[in-house]
Amino acid sequence: MTEQQIFESLAVIVLASPLALLLFVSFVAVLPFRDKEKAIRSATYLAILAGLLASVGIAAGMIAAGESARLLDLGDWVAIEEVSFHFHVAFVFDWLSVPFLILIWILCGTVAAFTSRYLHREPGFQRYFILYSLFTAGMVISSLARTIEVLFLGWELVGLSSALLVGFFHERKSPVINGLRVWGVYRFADAAFLIAALVLHHMTNHGDFTAMTGHAAWPATDSNLEPWQAFVAGLLLLIAAAGKSALIPFSGWLPRAMEGPTASSAIFYGALSVHLGAFLLLRACPLIAASPALSAIVVCVGLATALYASVVSSVQADVKSALAFASLTQVGLIVAEIGMGWYVLALLHILGHAFLRTLQLLRAPNLLHDYFKMETAMGRRIVAGDQPRLLSRYPFFRDQVYHFALNRGYLDSFLDGWVIGPFCTVFRQFTRWESRWIAMWDSRVVNDAGDDFASGPIHPDWSEESAMDHERVSR
């Protein structure tokens, strides 16, 4: 076997293992295993171990050969020459993706081991592992993607599994509400991502990152794009990254995402998916480097997020929210580092922070125990302190800042009042217009159905007949 063949088979193992796991877990219910939990657990260990070893093997090979990037090209899956659109499936192993990949395997593996005991006897055990393997697959695909389409594919899988895991306890109301909210923010970010992909296609006729970021391996930054092109594309990607990484102004969803089981909160919002936005920016760093204006914006968004999150984190009295905002503080700093052009530092920061935060979140239910131990060792009680002297001296500002922090910087109110509210109003108005229009055609449809769309799903008086009429008319 040549070296290239070895690399290719390892790369296929990396990509295939989470997908195979997903397939296995999804169908485990109909497979002849007596102890389903055990079967799922063993399969997960196997898949993670295979992926980890293959990734380490690739890294070793790259070090041995002194290479900085290797490609796995699966060719065009769709090609529409007239509009020069190619759905090009290709994966890249470089010094950005490989460390991130190894991080993913270690964290996913640890969390799998944790969860297999934590969720023991839980009715949703299998469902959790389906979402978990979907998430792992998404993370692996997006970290290795070499074209923006492939990255989007992985990105979507991560988003879908995250939102469903937030709503894991769907018998209660608030997990579902919060899961929907996370999903909503993700979709908004996705829209920006898709537009960015389209814009890039228009500018470069390719979806490959090389087209926009040059051929040199990461972290080199020789973009072929004009600064204004880089600015437009980069800004859209920044919006996408901000949604995924809960940067300002999307930060409100992060604490809401703590509705799922502790372990999934840890891996998703403490460690991996919250860093995915930063990863995207790292992947697109040549764009940022090509546009000074964009760099400045990235630094500002990052620093603002960090400052915001650290202030908000200071007043959180529940451990998971406090850790969520602590995470966000560091993510903000990481984004600022990317804007400054310190890419390697940013990558190291991601790795270290992900490990630390996962450990802290997994231990979050141990808080009382830890506090008892620390207080005993220190020989005194741990108490909440004052705000910084500058603030605590002036009650007006002190209260103001506390109010700001306790209301999480009003970001959710802002989104509710200025984005979601108007959006809903506009579309409800459309619904009203539509139903009025229909009513003009067919008087049998109940008048003013629009109002009912606003509050409830379907008008109870709609018989089958009128529903059919409705369908006919709308055609």
Partner: protein, 1038 residues
């Protein structure tokens, strides 16, 4: 309804009283660091159990019993027998059993018939679906008896033939019948009924039956007793789908968290020491803040209250006035308003009342301020939603318009539902259509009333009584038969044991120690065990050598007066100081990392180095036990030196926390020692070594850790109590004083204190260096037995853990439970009190060598040593009944309704403000027990078996109001047992009635392990063929 608009005000004192009263319905759980088990429905304890669970179900929106489906499953597997249901039905009906109800004879008969077949309660919205899906009008219900159905069809055929056979059918009842058939007549051509196939006849019969039922039920519609909601929010919600509570919670939950925080957040809430009102004003009163639209007028409102010096109570009054709450419903309204966020309201109430138990208390009157704030927010949220959804100029009072309430809508569908239930009942009971058709109206009315009277809760109650009855019969029989067997072997007396007993062990009454004691006695028959409440009569504030604060170690009802301190022995003092210094550094570093990692810049530094965290992360999750051993090694460097002693003797005359005031006087010690020995009856037949074991539990990642500790120590760990008691008992001055009181403890007897960790099954003995050399040899067999008992106990416990292989050996079992303690991902470190069901108060001779499956609290008590007034039993029961009853009832309710009374699954729990847990980042505080703690529990009321006479018990019940309330209200079941004859009496309806054993047989097993092996579920109680039993009788092991 006009009651809401008349009398708009209540006086301030009336409102104050209403709040006080409503507060009792809030969860009584304090900060979670000290978890005290108590009856979840304590507020309703003045009612009898059955009434209270029904009332509680309405008030709190929770379940009263298990589901009917569940009871039927238990019936199917034989856990409940049909005869139990019959007996329970008779018992619950009492004199009413023979009331004649028509058609089926007596009320008893009707109810028994209803219970025999599952009555599928169908919700109005499901009805049409169920009818279509089960072809209800085509085929007989599957529960119906085949022959009975055949008979019904042919009788209907005969009836129709009679009526329509001659072709005219013009009589009065014929016309009525025709009318009845009208709605479905087009599918059945009556003229050709001769040629109908059997299936067509079946369908026709069912259609006819359905029409008859529907007709009659519609004639006597049910007057719905379901109380309409009182809160405006419920009306607005059902009308618009907008939830005002959600708006209010968004403001109120973070506010309460900041207020209750005991030191987790970095910044404290401004002005919180001045109370809720002041803090809320500081937070929301100032201008210039961005806020949601519905809160725009909040600052003005707060400023008005602040400037006008409106008291919280006046503010509540204003709000009630504006909301149009009538005088006669104030209490109900306030109760429901507080219950809307019951976890936080309850915690505020607890912290306000017991400010001494937390680091940051709240001032008196906090609950009133909470209510005032809540009502202000409620008003604003309601007004905003009403304006948006219903248009301007809505008065708040007008929101409670019953015309718009959806729950009371559609009476027709409700009628159909009820008719459908009777339709099914008629099929299963074989009520002929003709009979029903000819039933007179008064009889129909009576029948319907009877069926309505026997509603779901009533049915479940009978099932539940049967469920308890079966267990009670088995338990009483097992203990009685075991006693008789031991008596015939001559083992029921304590006399003459002195020489044969090597050592004694006194444990807590906790049911987890039952197996530990049983194993000890199995391992070494020369061991004798006893049990007393695990604080061993030593009520104290205790400070460990490494601690900086005193913790109370005694039942929650006692406020200790004495202080005890652990100190490092003189020769190690220097070493101790060095270690303390090191410990302070380590603690400060840990805290620095802990809080620093959450801040901006030090967070960045820790994060960049955070890759190092991968090591503990992977190690702790993958190799928990190994990591723990490794860590312990490090901890040893700075832990307290091994040689410590208790400062237990007081110099000053009065107890206190000052240096000279620490400890007890000799008289007080004598009092304590005598009290325990007399309680358990250890006054003669001494052995050389008596070991006392307190108990507690450690586990990781478990906010409910304290719930596994010793209940008698108020959710603390009882090791120090045992240690202190042993010190007192060994004191020569104490022994001299005891002798003067007629209690002679021989010099050859030595007491040793110890601690049993029920989670990892380890035993630590204290002050071994102080054991006289004469007793060193006695210690060895005892330690060996304790070690072996730990192994076997771990083994027995492992059968309950699904993740432990049933084939594990003893050593692997111990390693398994040790790993559970250290495992971050383990949500069931131990099962705690789950499965508790029994409490035996009496001599150990009654239960020795009886396998009680870790389900029985055991309290030692010797009636022969009690005085004529039963004063020892009375003081024992004064503690045992409320404590064990409380534990049992908390498990009952958390199991029966895990989301309502319990705190649901642990998986999304989030420790909040260091006082409780929320689900996710913003829910109410969850109280009660998590599902993972109770999942193997069997919800039965505690059965107390007391070795005493009915007369003695009646006088004790009459003399103690707490016991009286619990026993007469049937919150616990009480039986007495005669220690001679084994005769038992059961307390029922205010008197003791003889218990009639159902069997005189008792299964036997060669050893505990041979019996529990290979089975995870509950086990029957069996006699263990221990050496002494086998030796004394000529019995054979099966």
């Amino acid at each position: 309804m006009d009651t809401h608009t008349s009398h708009p005000d209540g006086s301030l004192s009336q409102i104050g009283q209403a709040i006080d009263h409503a507060a009792h319905f809030l969860p009584a759980q304090g900060p979670i660091t000290v978890f005290i088990h108590h009856n979840t429905l304590h507020a309703l304890e003045h009612l009898p159990f059955e009434k209270a669970v029904r009332h509680g179900a309405e008030l709190f929106g929770c379940r009263a019993y298990l589901s009917e489906e569940r009871y039927r499953e238990e019936l199917a597997v034989g856990r409940i027998r049909t005869s139990d249901i019959t007996s329970s039905l008779l018992e619950s009906l009492g004199d009413e059993a023979d009331i004649f109800v028509g058609l089926l004879g007596t009320r008893f008969n009707l109810r028994r018939a209803i219970l025999r077949h599952p009555l599928h309660a169908v919700l109005p919205e499901q009805l049409d679906w169920v009818i279509a899906e089960s072809s209800a009008f085509e085929k007989f219900n599957t529960e119906a008896d085949k022959d009975e159905s055949q008979r019904m069809v042919s009788a209907t055929r005969r009836w129709l033939g009679r009526v329509f056979g001659d072709g005219n059918g013009n009589g009065e009842s014929e016309r009525e019948l025709k009318q009845l058939c009208e709605p479905f007549a087009d599918r059945f051509s009556l003229a050709q009924m001769e040629s109908w196939k059997p299936s067509k006849w079946e369908s026709f019969t069912l259609n006819l039956l359905w029409r008859i039922c529907l007709n009659e039920v519609a004639r006597f519609p049910r007057h719905d007793h379901k109380r309409p909601p009182v809160r405006h929010r419920d009306f607005l919600y059902s009308r618009t789908g907008e939830d005002s509570d959600q708006l209010v919670n968004d403001i109120l939950i973070p506010f309460c968290l900041g207020l209750l925080d005991q030191g987790f957040s970095k910044w404290h809430m401004p002005e919180r020491d001045k109370g809720l009102f002041a803090a809320f004003y500081a937070l929301h009163g100032g201008g210039g803040r961005i806020r949601d639209r519905w809160l725009r007028t909040l600052p003005d409102e707060l400023a008005r209250i602040h400037d006008g010096r409106v008291t919280p109570l006046q503010s509540v009054q204003e709000s009630l006035h504006q909301l149009g709450v009538g005088e006669n419903e104030i209490e109900l309204f306030i109760t429901q308003t507080l219950l809307a966020l019951r976890g936080f309201a309850g915690m505020i109430w607890q912290v306000e009342r017991r400010a001494d138990r937390v680091a940051h208390g709240l001032p008196q009157g906090s609950l009133v301020e909470f209510l005032a704030i809540r009502l202000i927010l409620d008003r604003l949220a309601l007004a905003d939603i009403a304006r948006r959804e219903l248009g301007p100029r809505q008065s708040l009072a007008g929101l409670r318009d019953y015309r718009f309430h959806r729950d009371v809508a559609d009476p027709f569908q409700n009628t159909r539902c009820e008719a459908f239930a009777i339709f099914l009942l008629a099929q299963t009971l074989g009520w002929q259509p003709e009979t029903l058709f000819r039933l007179t109206q008064p009889n129909w009315k009576k029948l319907l009333e009877e069926i309505r009277l026997f509603d779901e809760t009533e049915r479940l109650q009978v099932f539940h009584l049967a469920y308890e009855r079966r267990f009670r019969q088995q338990s009483l029989d097992a203990i009685r038969n075991h006693h008789l067997a031991r008596k015939s072997a001559g083992l029921d007396k304590r006399k003459g044991q002195a020489g044969k007993v090597l050592f004694d062990v006194i444990t807590c009454i906790d049911e987890r120690e039952e197996s530990f004691r049983r194993h000890l006695e199995e391992i070494n028959p020369a061991c004798r065990t006893w049990a007393a409440a695990g604080f061993f009569c030593v009520a104290m504030y205790y400070r460990a050598a490494d601690s900086f604060q005193y913790v109370p170690l005694c039942p929650i009802v006692i406020e200790p007066k004495h202080y005890v301190e652990e100190r490092v022995a003189g020769e190690q003092e220097e070493d101790g100081r060095r270690r303390t210094a090191l410990r302070r550094t380590v603690g400060a570093t840990l805290h620095g990392l802990h809080s620093g990692s959450r801040s901006l810049f030090s967070g960045a530094a820790t994060a960049v180095l955070g890759t190092l965290a991968a090591i503990p992360l992977v190690a702790r999750v993958l190799f928990p036990r190994f990591t723990a051993l490794f860590r312990e090694h490090f901890d040893k460097l700075y832990s307290v030196p091994s040689d410590t002693w208790l400062q237990i003797e007081r110099k000053a005359s009065q107890p206190g926390s000052g240096n000279d005031e620490i400890g007890y006087s000799v008289d007080e010690m004598t009092e304590i020692v005598e009290r325990l020995l007399r309680d358990i009856g250890m006054t003669s037949e001494w052995s050389r070594l008596v070991i006392l074991l307190g108990h507690g539990s450690t586990s990781l990642n478990n906010p409910h850790e304290s719930a596994h500790d010793c209940g008698a120590c108020g959710g603390g760990r009882g090791g120090p109590n045992a240690r202190a008691w042993a010190r007192m008992g060994n004191d020569v001055r104490v022994r001299a004083a005891l002798a003067a009181r007629g209690l002679i403890v021989p010099d050859t007897t030595w007491f040793v204190g110890g601690y049993h960790n029920t989670c990892d099954d380890s035993v630590t003995l204290y002050d071994l260096s102080r054991i006289p050399s004469s007793h060193a040899a006695d210690l060895e067999p005892a330690r060996a037995a304790l070690h072996e008992a730990c192994l076997r106990n771990a083994h027995e416990r492992c059968r309950r853990f699904e993740s432990a292989d049933l084939r594990l050996g003893k050593e692997s079992a111990l390693r398994h439970v040790e790993a559970r303690v250290e495992d971050l991902s383990q949500v069931r470190p131990e099962y705690g009190h789950a499965t508790n069901a029994l409490c035996v108060v009496g001599r150990r001779e009654l239960t020795r060598n009886l396998y009680l499956d870790r389900r029985a609290f055991l309290q030692s008590y010797d009636p022969s040593q009690d005085d004529a007034n039963h004063s020892i039993l009375a003081r024992i029961l004064a503690a045992v009944v409320p404590v064990c009853g409380g534990i049992s009832l908390e498990y009952y309710f958390s199991y029966v309704d895990p989301e309502g009374y319990g705190c649901g699954t642990k998986l999304p729990h989030n420790i909040s403000a260091l006082v409780g847990v929320m689900n996710g980042a913003a829910s109410d505080l969850r109280t009660g027990l998590p599902w993972q703690m109770v999942e193997i529990h069997e919800p039965v009321r505690l059965l107390m078996i007391i070795e005493s006479t009915p007369e003695a018990m009646l006088s004790i019940i009459a003399g103690n109001p707490v016991i009286r309330q619990m026993v007469e209200g049937r919150w616990v079941q009480v039986a007495t047992m005669n220690g001679e004859s084994g005769d038992m009496h059961l307390f029922q309806q205010g008197r003791f009635v003889p218990h009639h054993p159902e069997t005189t047989e008792l299964q036997r097993a060669p050893s505990s392990a041979a019996w529990y092996r290979g089975w995870r579920g509950h086990l029957d109680f069996v006699q263990i063929d221990a050496a002494e039993l086998v030796a004394s009788g000529n019995r054979k092991t099966p």
